[in-house]
Homo-oligomer: 345 residues x 3
């Protein structure tokens, strides 16, 4: 399992991290503890005391520091041990790793790689729960599956036609037409029209939907879906809609796939209508749909993982609609390879 460490990984929702409550999570096999200090700083440290390897996430926040509650060693925000009870000299090696950590768009992001390379401008432009333009619900799911299978799922919406006809009301067109795919420096972009979709939750008449999303390393999906009068896709000859065209509905979803270990993952998501095209009731309807749809994905992907585990030597056979999957995998492989070269240099 390849992990792009030099990227921002989502650890949790902002509001799930209370002041003074250390939060432990395994990220790409690293034990990480995150906490807010008394002064409001955000700190992410290796969740493993230097002394006897106890988890600091069972510890106590004290001012700007975190104390291991096994034998009382205390660590500053930079990871340095600053107190060993009853011991005057603190060895220079008494230090846990500190991770760059940022709170943005309602998520806590951790940079798992070289801290010198941590660049906040690389944080994808997710829509936070407090965004004034959208009315968003949110949730999360744990997977007994490697993160890559979820990346694959999200980089190929062909599966909507087969996995999600009931929940999303997806038609066969998701499988028979192809999106326009664009390689970006750290993401893959997918754009397409889907004709005569049932608007489902928006109302009775059929619409043409313009689905446009980016899938960013290390697993961040950002998607706006806008609906237009039926016939618009034909009229535009499948070109992207111009801003002047009247829209009958707009939603936005931000999703993050975090590899916990090589075989387990956590999936965070928000979704909801633009304020001009919906209200809290529509948001709640969409969250019900998402709950159903993401359970359909989880059932399929965890079953896929079990089949793979029976014989891990089996190879996949990419189809033409796997272009996005393959581009994203190559992007991940290239970035991971470059990390290795940098680390070796």
């Amino acid at each position: 399992m390849i992990h792009v460490r030099n990227s921002w990984h989502v650890a949790c929702w902002s509001m799930d991290l209370a002041v003074g409550q250390p939060f432990g999570i395994t990220m790409a096999n690293d034990p990480v503890v995150i906490f807010r200090t008394e002064s409001g700083n955000l700190v992410a440290l290796e969740d493993r005391c230097v002394h006897r390897l106890a988890p600091l996430s069972l510890g106590r926040c004290e001012g700007e520091s975190l104390r291991c509650m096994y034998h009382g060693l205390r660590f500053a925000a930079d990871g340095a041990c600053v107190e060993i009870p009853g011991q005057d000299i603190i060895p220079a090696a008494a230090k846990v790793r500190a991770y760059p950590v940022v709170e943005r768009h309602s998520w806590i992001w951790v940079w798992l790689g070289d801290p010198a390379l941590a660049d906040e401008s690389l944080i994808p432009q997710a829509v936070g729960l407090d965004d004034p333009d959208y009315i968003l619900g949110h949730g999360q799911l744990d997977y007994a599956a490697q993160a890559q299978l979820i990346h694959d799922n999200l980089c190929d919406f062909t599966h909507l036609a087969f996995v999600h006809p009931a929940s999303f009301g997806a038609t066969e067109e998701w499988a028979t037409t192809r999106p326009r795919i664009t390689q970006l420096p750290r993401a893959v972009r997918f754009e397409r029209w889907v004709r005569e979709q049932s608007r489902g939750h928006w109302g009775g008449e059929l619409v043409d939907a313009w689905s446009s999303y980016e899938y960013h390393v290390p697993g961040i999906l950002l998607m706006q879906t806008a609906s237009y009068a039926a016939g618009t896709a034909d009229m535009l000859n499948d070109a992207a809609p111009t801003p002047d065209l009247p829209r009958t509905g707009v939603t936005f979803t931000s999703q993050a796939v975090t590899a916990l270990t090589d075989s387990t993952s956590r999936y965070f998501f928000s979704w909801g209508p633009h304020r001009d095209h919906g209200d809290e009731a529509l948001r709640d309807t969409l969250m019900g749909v998402a709950g159903m749809a993401f359970a359909e994905d989880k059932t399929m992907i965890e079953a896929q993982q079990r089949v793979i585990d029976l014989d891990p030597s089996r190879r996949v056979m990419p189809a033409t609609f796997d272009k996005g999957v393959v581009l994203y995998q190559r992007l991940v492989e290239r970035l991971a390879r470059e990390e290795g070269l940098e680390a070796a240099a």
Copy 2:
């Protein structure tokens, strides 16, 4: 763990396989999906889509074919992929393995080895639930144990005296006398008299029981038990009973042990009286007895597996009553070896 692939393995009960409902089971480490087509044909395929290794058993039956419900690839009864949504060309390699499969004696049998060698005449003569001569109940159990431990158990009824005195009312004679054992081409036959058995469910007086069964590769037990007036065994000097001797009771049990993986197994069984010697009430009594007895076996065998797992290097020490166990193991080893030679030739 040795598996005789060139043999018929029981996958499930006939009536548990509804038309249009794909059924997934792991057989000797192979993921297998079985379904009935619209026209009533029975099909068994590799339960692993060529595309991204999703299980076809989560798929949808369509006419004579099975569609993967992850990305919509469709497979014909011979395993060939016949449709990839939105893709014109189907690679020749897009094929899952197809297994010979037969419905007989109320079981679905799958040939896991070379299809060219699949010979229906090798299916053991089990008694189906619809047999006009018997009134049968049935059930199944999953084991957290390798199949070989269950084969060993069923090829040596010495254990009846110790594991099943309460359930089967078995006496010490099961341990102190030995069956006549005959090696057959693909089975081992066991025959013996057990004197002065309590008839238990048949009534109060003691009987002599003639127990005769065959244990067929890959784990099929077929046993008729007939009871006679006490003294018959002595009178016949332990020879097999002749057809003219009046019988006071007759039952038949068919059992199948299927290796799911190298460490888990499924056990199928039916049992009941001959129509001339019992009714539904007796069948229900026997099923209660079987439920108790097979739980006794499961407790012992799963505990045995845990002891073995603590130190897998420990060797068994066969006793004289293990003749049938050893003959069956050698038969399995020989057939597996011959498979290897054929495959290499």
Copy 3:
């Protein structure tokens, strides 16, 4: 994981071993069955029948012997097979291992190493539940953690200040002062004053507590705690109290850590007041405190094990207060090494 086999390991409480009821337990990866014979002898055997490796702990006690209830082999107290049903000749190799076993201080102790070296004088002087001087409660806990982590915990009471402030009412002094530590031939002794402890369950005023315990191979903690008037520690200049000094409270706890496997453990404990300093009500209060405190340890140690399992290559960084931990670990390593030399000689 290192096990000192040439030592007495606690298998269970005396009263949990009823006559005629074989008891199975895995000790340092060995399956062991213990039973009391009809004449009252105590027997410990390998819990694995020579025949097909079934556990003898599912067997039946018969007089002075134990019968395997799979196929009826019977074993004498020395481990020799003395009966194989229906078989005249018993191979000389038909023998399971017999372990020296002793009942003392309310525990059943098993010597896992060379029987020729089993020396009852090496059994640590635990206080049994029937001791006339103490009023004791008792309990036990299973750990999903290797025994060494529990040994480490018990050889360093610094953790009381952080893990047990609520349950034991432990103050920071446990972390800031150090015990006097003495290496014994098969144990490490810890002695210290803790000043102005809340007496908690004894009453309102503060006391000085003299805590004195030994930690014996393979994991036996024996501790007396006596309280004195506040100021006594200062008056004695931290020397051990003399017998003439009036004590305001005395308790005793005996604890045993048994490695089940390399990754699981069982923890036995008793605790209670001296008869001159308490009653059944105080014992019950102490057991409530122990229940809370030992759950605090278990939470921390099992979490520590999970962190270790994420990356077993990580090394600990001993602190100055780890002197006892290190002395005990070196003692264990030395004894295990000597066992290896003896076995090789």
